[in-house]
């Protein structure tokens, strides 16, 4: 093909390429917009998508209403800061109070942030190597100050009964502290057997480090 003929063709084809380029961009952004809309529709139909359960406020102190439900995602941070994945708007919680992640068969693993502490099923959990983290399953209780939350896991989640241990197993395998006798540990009988909302919450006996070391308990 001669250079002159090619130049004419190339000059003419500019409009074709430009038109296709613009169409590709328009189609791309239409697709992005459509996906954005579908995502919102999907979230409306599956409002619990991405969540593993919820915290129910059993005792909210002065800050939270009892019975309030707070959704819990697969993993993230919990605290009073709005950047957290689970926001507890209470002065009892630090801006980032603890980290959590859901592990199949194990449940919701809780790890306190540096310098923070909380009680999981009556057992003290604070940051540091001595405290490798606590596990929460359906019905477990989380307490910080006078705020008490109960975890409800959604049905169908893979938390097998064989993963539910007696406290002695935790000591053997994970070196986790044993809760003192008499502390209610809902869920160890299987989450189907756990405390239901009908059972009144009677408070927890909180186990501090000294008691776990073998001192007498109240």
């Amino acid at each position: 093909m001669s250079d002159e003929l090619y130049s004419v063709l190339a000059l003419g084809m500019r409009y074709w390429f430009l038109a296709l380029g613009v169409l590709i961009v328009v189609q791309t952004f239409l697709w992005l917009y459509r996906d954005h809309r579908e995502k919102h529709q999907r979230l409306r139909n599956l409002p619990d998508a991405g969540m593993i359960g919820e915290f129910v406020v059993l005792s909210g102190g002065n800050d939270l209403e009892e019975g309030k439900v707070i959704p819990v995602p697969w993993e993230g941070m919990l605290g009073s800061s709005r950047h957290c994945d689970v926001v507890i708007p209470s002065g009892a919680f630090a801006p980032v109070h603890l980290y959590f992640s859901f592990e199949k068969r194990m449940g919701l693993m809780i790890e306190a942030a540096r310098g923070r502490e909380c009680y999981v099923d009556g057992v003290l959990e604070k940051s540091g190597k001595k405290h490798p983290g606590e596990r929460m399953i359906h019905g477990s209780i989380l307490q910080v100050g006078d705020i008490v939350l109960r975890l409800r896991l959604f049905a169908g989640l893979d938390v097998e009964r064989k993963a539910l241990r007696k406290p002695e197993d935790d000591v053997k395998e994970y070196g986790m502290p044993v809760a003192s006798q008499g502390v209610p540990r809902p869920g160890y009988g299987g989450y189907a057997d756990s405390q239901t909302e009908e059972e009144p919450f009677t408070g927890l006996h909180l186990v501090k480090d000294e008691e776990k070391d073998g001192n007498s308990k109240t």
Binding site: M1, Y6, S7, L9, A10, L11, M13, R14, Y15, W16, F17, L18, L20, G21, V22, L23, I24, V25, Q27, T28, F29, L30, W31, L32, R34, D35, H36, E38, K39, Q41, R42, N45, L46, D48, A49, G50, P73, W74, E75, G76, S81, H83, Y99, S101, F154, A155, G156, L157
Partner: protein, 422 residues
């Protein structure tokens, strides 16, 4: 009685999947674009390779979209846009230097394999628990290789040569850096990722590869902010980066020169400023509609095939088309960010975010340098620039994003199953 709620959700999800027909339309448009473009160039060159590319490139686009789409739940839109940009690079190179285009096409094949490996990696290794130390040591060692056995090219010693093959380690280390930093940040372990990032930055400074060092630094900082939302420390990081830039300006003579040329390239337009001036003239001569594919004088721009390929695109296709290319990059960044935000797990979200930001930042740095918005650096235009290391690493970054996208789809299907179980 009506349809039960869980069946409505299933039917709606099926409808949602059928609506993925926009992928077909986009793929057809992209194929049509490249079929006509390569055919035009094939008429000019009258070589069998040109005609082969005319059919092979659209076929590869179609085949890749459908085959990969069946194997993994990949994001079809992201894959189509990636293919568009890769093929654009091959097209522009074919119009100026066919040999470069053939190499680029071969690197695209390698890049596809790399992308599949990265998708597979994200799906199989959902945790880096057993690989993290190996990756840190491997990254630092690989990045140190140019200092030991590398050759200085264009003022930077960041290439290693094995016979006829040249590799830029920093292009591949960015992938492992994102994985390692995302892993440790998600675990809230500060020291390992900090040491890894600082080690890489020091090595890059020694190699005088300041453009890549800038990318590493900013992406690490952005990932830090994404994982912690700690504004004061992030601002401190930005100030620190600014301070390092000022220090670099005072310490390195070539940085001073680059800044001076950025401010006034016409002061030395025959020598040091020649590249910038020619690039600006190419942008201007293309005007809105371009001079035509395969026309113009792209070879007058030094290193047009890597640093200034965007100027060549704008010269031949016009500024409006150049804006379209920019919008394609914006769409890729938007999509990658959406995939990151939709991820259920922090590590996966950070990996997707890191890969997206790396692509976005690299695009901003190179195009900003070409249009004289910021001083020019030695980074390449993702997917488009000539060069195997650049293309393969960009495809691998896309593979990481695609891996996270496929995991998101699996999680969504599990949600649908749980809903039907209730």
């Amino acid at each position: 009685m009506g349809i039960p709620k869980h069946k409505k959700i299933t039917m709606e999800s099926t409808r949602m999947r059928e609506k993925r027909k926009p992928g077909e339309r986009l793929a057809v448009l992209v194929m049509l674009f490249y079929f006509t473009a390569f055919l035009l160039l094939a008429f000019r060159n009258s070589t069998w390779q040109g005609y082969a590319l005319t059919f092979c490139v659209p076929a590869a686009i179609w085949g890749g979209t459908h085959i990969l789409g069946k194997c993994f739940h990949i994001d079809t839109l992201l894959f189509s846009l990636t293919n568009f940009l890769c093929a654009l690079g091959i097209l522009v190179l074919y119009g100026t230097n066919p040999n470069l285009a053939y190499h680029q096409a071969a690197y695209y094949g390698v890049g596809l394999v790399g992308m599949v490996i990265c998708i597979y990696f994200m799906r199989v290794f959902r945790s880096l628990r057993h690989l993290r130390i190996l990756m840190i040591i491997g990254s630092v060692a690989f990045l140190a290789l140019p200092l030991l056995i590398g050759r200085e090219t264009n003022g930077a010693k960041n290439w290693i040569y094995f016979q006829s093959v040249s590799i830029q380690p920093s292009e591949f280390v960015k992938i492992s850096l994102i994985l390692v930093v995302a892993w440790f940040m998600n675990r809230r372990q500060f020291l390992p990722w900090f040491l890894c990032a600082v080690g890489c930055l020091i090595l890059l400074m020694l190699q005088k590869d300041l453009g890549t060092a800038l990318l590493y630094y900013v992406v690490t900082l952005l990932l830090f902010f994404a994982s912690t939302a700690n504004v004061p420390l992030t601002m401190l990081g930005i100030l620190g980066g600014g301070g390092a830039a000022v220090l670099g300006y005072r310490m390195f003579a070539h940085v001073k020169k680059r800044v001076a040329l950025w401010r006034n390239p016409w002061s030395d337009y025959e020598n040091a400023g020649y590249q910038i001036v020619q690039g600006l003239m190419a942008l201007a001569s293309g005007s809105l509609l371009g001079v035509g594919l395969g026309l113009g004088s792209p070879t007058t721009i030094p290193v047009y095939e890597t640093d200034y390929i965007f100027a060549v695109i704008c010269e031949q296709f016009g500024l409006i088309f150049g804006v379209c290319v920019l919008l394609i990059y914006v769409a890729i960044i938007w999509r990658g960010t959406t995939i990151a935000m939709a991820s259920r797990h922090g590590y996966q979200g950070l990996v997707s975010m890191g890969a997206t930001m790396m692509i976005g930042l690299q695009t901003f740095v190179i195009i900003g340098g070409v249009i004289k918005l910021i001083p020019l650096t030695g980074v390449t235009m993702p997917f488009v620039s000539s060069g195997g290391s650049s293309l393969v690493s960009s495809m691998c970054l896309t593979g990481l994003i695609q891996g996270v996208a496929s995991l998101n789809e699996d999680d969504l299907e599990e949600d649908l199953k749980l809903t039907e179980a209730m």
